[in-house]
């Protein structure tokens, strides 16, 4: 492509870039490991997909959690509480 012509902006598929959405949050989900039975429903139902599995239980990526509270609402053992952070 000639240098004077603008490059068509190509959107990459192999690498994605996102900006954290943590600042959207008013309430923060906090997991009580004592109550968690590792059913992983929170992992499935988190709309954002920011909860992952680990040996110790679910891990929340707070950089991208928007604080919707679906995880806490769906948790069958009430192991997740929504804590005000602002």
């Amino acid at each position: 492509m000639s240098e004077e012509l603008p490059e068509i902006p190509l959107i990459r598929v192999d690498t994605l870039w996102s900006e954290p959405t943590a600042s959207w949050r008013v309430l923060k989900p906090v997991i009580d490991p004592g109550k968690c039975r590792k059913c992983w429903l929170c992992v499935d139902f988190c709309p954002e997909g920011v909860i992952s599995k680990s040996e110790e239980g679910p891990v929340i990526d707070y950089r991208f959690c928007k604080g919707c509270g679906v995880c806490a609402n769906e948790c069958p053992t009430k192991a997740i509480s929504m804590v005000r952070e602002v």
């Binding site: 192999d14 870039w17 954002e48 679906v70 609402n73």
Partner: protein, 700 residues
């Protein structure tokens, strides 16, 4: 004397429509026009405006119904912009032939090409040569005043042409200013009821216009229509003068601003004029002799009026500011029009054509100071010189800071917290995997893709389809991969309910009937959520939306939703299913079954997924999955599949839960009485019994 209040441009248009006692309103949602028709819906719902309100399936029909209402003798109104304007273009082109006056408000927005949400004139400029009256307002008061005046002008016996009122998207449509709302009686005196002319089409009329002509009549008709449009200038002058006398606000074909004794002249249109005027004021205070003309009526073009100012003031250089490009001419459309004006002036005036504000880019006072500077000092000082200058700004750094490698999905999209569509999208992506291409019509999810520019949160290629052609885009891609021998590429149409049930239904129907192996996913949030909660073909009965508001006259949507599953059954496609994000295993199994079917080339697979929307349905964002689950358990969203004609309920509660548990959680149903709920519940129960009977049966 009216009352002074703070109104957005869109709301001012709606008040203009109400005061003009418009009888038929027909419109389809599109940003940034939508609030106009939402406010009008409110007026109708509350009984403040007695008008017929049409909810068509797309702009082609929305503009068509408004035109036809005018052909039938009613005062009618529609509003659109951008892609909707493009989709309705065929109707727009035909409208003048009927000599049936009506008004279309256009909240100007870029016509994609590359899409944007805010204003430039690439949409309405495509219609500048079709014989419409085109008016571009500068502010919110003018929105209201222009509606009333344009009905008077368009309906005048000497005119009888459609009129387009253009207000800059967001810059005017969503900005608020103090606006005087005149008294109804004052407006009634100025604007009499719509006359019914001899050529109004009804069985009692003298005759009617059928817009077809033999070839030898086309040239003379073009000449005659051109004469009519130019004659309209006289009517415009009369009407704007009378309006000024009655209401104290006079607008003409053009507005002259500080042109007395000017050496240099800026010519502008629309909202940017306000910033240009401030720049003129600043320059004047420094002794620079600069003035401004704002072109209010762009069609008919005020050539004589502009020429008169240039000759009277002995203008030495002209700067024309265009918010559009006439590609292939190196100029903007207004620049070209002004050039034609200057041709007849002795000792030709040099012209600088500034192209600015494309895609809604702000054009600031300092930008205009720069333009004025170029007029004074520029190289284009001698007669006959024409040049074009692009007013460009540096974009901000846009790429997000967190990197994700080789994934189909990354978090961080701009969809609302608790969004059902986000949950649906991410699971669909997980199942379809990397060897997929997604065809997106406009919807919340594709808007979130657009907002992520210059990256994406979806790790497969996405194609932005025009709304009504979604099925066709999928077909074209599929055929390309076939001829290129690309195996195992899944073409997935990811459409909302508005696309599937309304504007995109015929392209889906055609793809289904032709057996195209496409995976069509509908995520159904039961309204146009991307434009802000307008009624769609799948909105449930009695639900509040912004175009089916609750008032003394209206009580939410009157009709039951369109049954897409039955429509797909009628197409005999190999796989049809509903799914819910509350039943993820069920959804995943259906997606896998559908993928197998399209990969084997058996035909189109259709999956219709419920997608609760906390914002539009008005429930707390933590309840998204709970609401989805209750929809299934109350029979509001039965989970079923039709696999090669065999019908099966995939989740079969032994007894349906009371509907109140589901609707009671949602603000959109807050106005429902117990009887209302019972009525809907009875319909759902009867549907459930029908589905139980079908269970296990072969339907085709």
């Amino acid at each position: 004397m009216g009352k002074l209040t703070l109104l957005s441009g869109n709301k001012a248009v709606a008040y203009g429509v109400k005061l003009s006692r418009v009888q038929v309103v027909s419109a389809y949602p599109i940003t940034p026009q939508t609030p106009i028709v939402e406010y009008i819906a409110e007026f109708v719902a509350k009984g403040e405006l007695k008008a017929e309100y049409v909810h068509p399936e797309g702009e082609h029909s929305a503009i068509g119904a408004a035109l036809a209402a005018a052909i039938g003798g009613a005062r009618s109104f529609t509003a659109t912009c951008s892609q909707g304007f493009g989709y309705g273009f065929e109707v727009i082109a035909q409208a003048p032939a009927y000599r049936a006056p009506f008004l279309m408000a256009v909240a100007n927005r870029t016509l994609g090409w590359y899409w944007a949400l805010a204003s430039d004139y690439s949409d309405t400029m495509t219609a500048r040569d079709l014989g419409w009256i085109q008016y571009y307002v500068e502010g919110c008061q003018e929105c209201l005043d222009a509606v009333i005046q344009l009905y008077r002008i368009a309906e005048d016996e000497r005119v009888l042409l459609p009129a387009m009122m253009c207000l800059d998207g967001f810059h005017i449509s969503h900005s608020s200013e103090p606006v005087n709302i005149p008294d109804q009686a004052e407006v009634d005196e100025f604007l009499p009821p719509r006359k019914v002319y001899d050529h109004t089409t009804d069985p009692d009329s003298e005759g009617y216009v059928f817009p077809v002509l033999p070839a030898p009549l086309h040239t003379p008709y073009r000449r005659m229509f051109e004469e009519v449009l130019h004659r309209a200038k006289g009517v415009i002058k009369e009407v704007t003068k009378e309006f000024g006398e009655r209401f104290g606000r006079e607008y003409g074909l053009i507005e002259e601003y500080r042109v007395e004794g000017a050496d240099h002249l800026l010519i502008t249109m629309g909202s940017m004029t306000t910033a240009a005027k401030r720049a003129v004021d600043e320059a004047r205070s420094e002794g620079v002799k600069v003035g401004l003309i704002r072109v209010a009526f762009y069609r008919p073009f005020p050539a004589e009026e502009i020429r008169e100012v240039i000759e009277r003031e002995g203008i030495a250089s002209v700067g024309v500011v265009d918010r559009a490009v006439a590609h292939g001419t190196r100029m903007g459309p207004l620049g070209l029009d002004v050039l034609s004006v200057l041709y007849n002036i002795n000792g030709r005036v040099p012209v600088t054509n500034f192209i600015a504000g494309m895609g809604g880019d702000d054009v600031s006072v300092s930008d205009f100071r720069g333009m004025i500077g170029k007029l004074i000092k520029g190289s284009c000082a001698s007669g006959g010189c024409v040049r074009t200058v692009y007013v460009e700004h540096k974009p901000p750094q846009m790429r997000g800071s967190v990197e994700f490698k080789d994934t189909v999905y990354a978090p961080g999209c701009q969809l609302c917290a608790g969004c059902g569509a986000t949950l649906v999208t991410r699971h669909v992506l997980r199942v379809i995997g990397k060897r997929s291409v997604i065809v997106f019509p406009p919807n919340c999810v594709s808007a979130a893709v657009a907002m992520h520019f210059p990256s994406n949160w979806i790790g497969v290629p996405c194609v932005l389809a025009n709304y009504a052609a979604t099925g066709a885009y999928a077909r074209g891609l599929l055929r390309a991969y076939r001829v290129r021998g690309k195996r195992g590429v899944k073409v997935v149409a990811f459409a909302g309910d508005g696309c599937t049930a309304d504007i995109g239904l015929q392209s889906l129907s055609s793809a289904a009937e032709c057996g195209e192996p496409i995976l069509w996913i509908t995520y159904d949030n039961e309204a146009y959520m991307n434009t802000g909660i307008q009624r769609s073909g799948t909105t449930p009965a009695k639900a509040w939306t912004t175009t089916t508001p609750v008032g003394t006259v209206w009580r939410g949507k009157r009709e039951f939703p369109k049954d897409l599953i039955s429509i797909m059954i009628a197409h005999r496609v190999p796989y049809i299913a509903t799914a819910s994000p509350a039943f993820l295993r069920d959804m995943e199994a259906k997606l896998r079954r559908a993928i197998g079917i399209v990969e084997r080339g058996e035909g189109l697979a259709y999956i219709h997924i419920h997608s609760p929307c906390p914002t539009g349905w008005r429930f707390p964002e933590s309840k998204t999955v709970e609401v989805a689950r209750l929809a299934v358990l109350t029979g509001a969203w039965p989970l079923l599949e039709v696999d090669h004609g065999v019908f099966r309920l995939t989740v079969k509660p032994s007894k349906l839960k009371p509907l109140k548990e589901y609707v009671g959680m949602q603000g959109r149903f807050a106005h429902l009485s117990d009887d209302d709920i019972k009525e809907v519940e009875a319909a759902l129960e009867s549907n459930w019994r029908r589905l139980l009977e079908l269970h296990g049966k072969k339907l085709f």
